[in-house]
């Protein structure tokens, strides 16, 4: 299942190192766009949780079980992010997040091949030419248990 929202409640939890200590957290997203995307069309920005900024270059995106840095995604014109499939966003943070509610924000967009120049950035966000139409910032208040 997927939820209607971009940020999915299912999949939001801390991650743990080999000793069982929290070393970060992860959550899942979908695009809500009507078509899938080649990974090289995808553009990512920062993740912000409760006001704390996790810069885009420290965030890992996982598609179909494989981790990618933003830099690695740029060159994957062979991986298709199927419409309605989710990606997992992974963030390192010593101690993880505390149990309870968190304001989670994720920024992303994509390059699409119509109605504008494919590589033109209109807002300087680095999130591709589709941001003007579909928005690039997504927020949700989410409850974390573990």
């Amino acid at each position: 299942m997927v939820e209607k929202e971009v940020i999915q409640l299912r999949g939001f939890h801390n991650t743990y190192d080999e000793n069982g200590n929290p070393d970060g957290f992860e959550f899942c997203v979908r695009t809500r766009y009507y078509k899938g995307l080649w990974l090289s069309q995808f553009r990512v920005g920062d993740v912000v949780v409760d006001g704390e900024v996790f810069p885009k270059n420290t965030v890992i995106w996982n598609f179909y079980g494989i981790d990618y840095t933003p830099e690695e995604m740029y060159d994957r014109m062979d991986i298709y992010w199927q419409v309605n499939d989710i990606a997992t966003v992974k963030i390192k943070k010593k101690g993880g997040l505390a149990q309870g509610y968190h304001d989670v924000e994720v920024n992303f967009g994509w390059v699409c091949n119509y109605n504008s120049e494919p590589e033109k950035e209109y807002d300087g966000s680095g999130l591709g030419n589709a941001v003007g139409m579909f928005g690039g910032t997504h927020k949700r208040r989410m409850l974390l248990v573990r």
């Binding site: 009507y34 078509k35 069309q41 014109m77 419409v83 309605n84």
Partner: protein, 302 residues
Amino acid sequence: MSEAMKEVKKGAPKRGVSVYSYSQLLGYCMTLEDCFKDIYDTGATCFELLTSHVENYPNPSPAWVDKYWRLCEKYKLQPAEMGHWAETHLHRGPRLTDDEILEQLIRDFKLANLLGFTTLRTKITCINEFCDPEPGWEKYIERALPYAEKYNVRMCTEVHRPTTLTMRVIDEYLEFIERTGTKYFGFNIDFGTFQNKPIPNLPDGKFAERDRRYIEEGYYSKPEDILRVLPYTYACHAKFNYMDENFEEQTIPYKEVLDIMINNGWSGFLLSEYEGPKRDDFSYLSDQLRRQHIMLNRILGY
């Protein structure tokens, strides 16, 4: 009426639905079968699928392909058009080479052929709001023509609002078709290009503002403008924004356009594409689709 005009046999467009109409619901709360079941109720005989609707595109499993054909048979629906994209910016730096673009086009031709589609909505990369194509498009499209013939698919460039049928870009495509003499590249005319009234009851915002602006600034085609592209038009998106309770579309002069097309012998695929408000509300969407197909049924007589 001249003798030549009298000889034109009336056309019989094939009434269909684009699964795009369900794109805010498909995969979220509807399956492909749910869409087909709803399409069957409209009396449509054919459909459009986008490549994204093909499970595990571009490599669907044989099990999915089998299931797809079973659904076509069960709901008596003929594959009409597959919407795909001629992507040209899939890596850093300059655009893809013609070889790379061609490789993707051939991949999609094979897929369309496997799934029974004879028409493609080929989205050529554009560089502005009016969908002027990125220069150089004719080089890779021309190289793709023999493969389109081999796999029996017609690439159709979409003429979409605010592009009108009298713009320079249409001449550019017509020149290409006439120069090459091809039957494997043509047009998909989106009926939104004929929209000459604003969408009623649209919430205030940038979409409503743009909707009004296009009309005020004259960015719409006249029904008779379709004649110049009609011989090369293999499919149309029967775009609609609001069907009223009298089964009339309130923003697009459907009867005028369709009468011209039928009287000039057009028998291509006419594929419903709902793009009005509340697309994420199945009951509203399905009611709108049914209303539109009552209108089309009354105009076409079937």
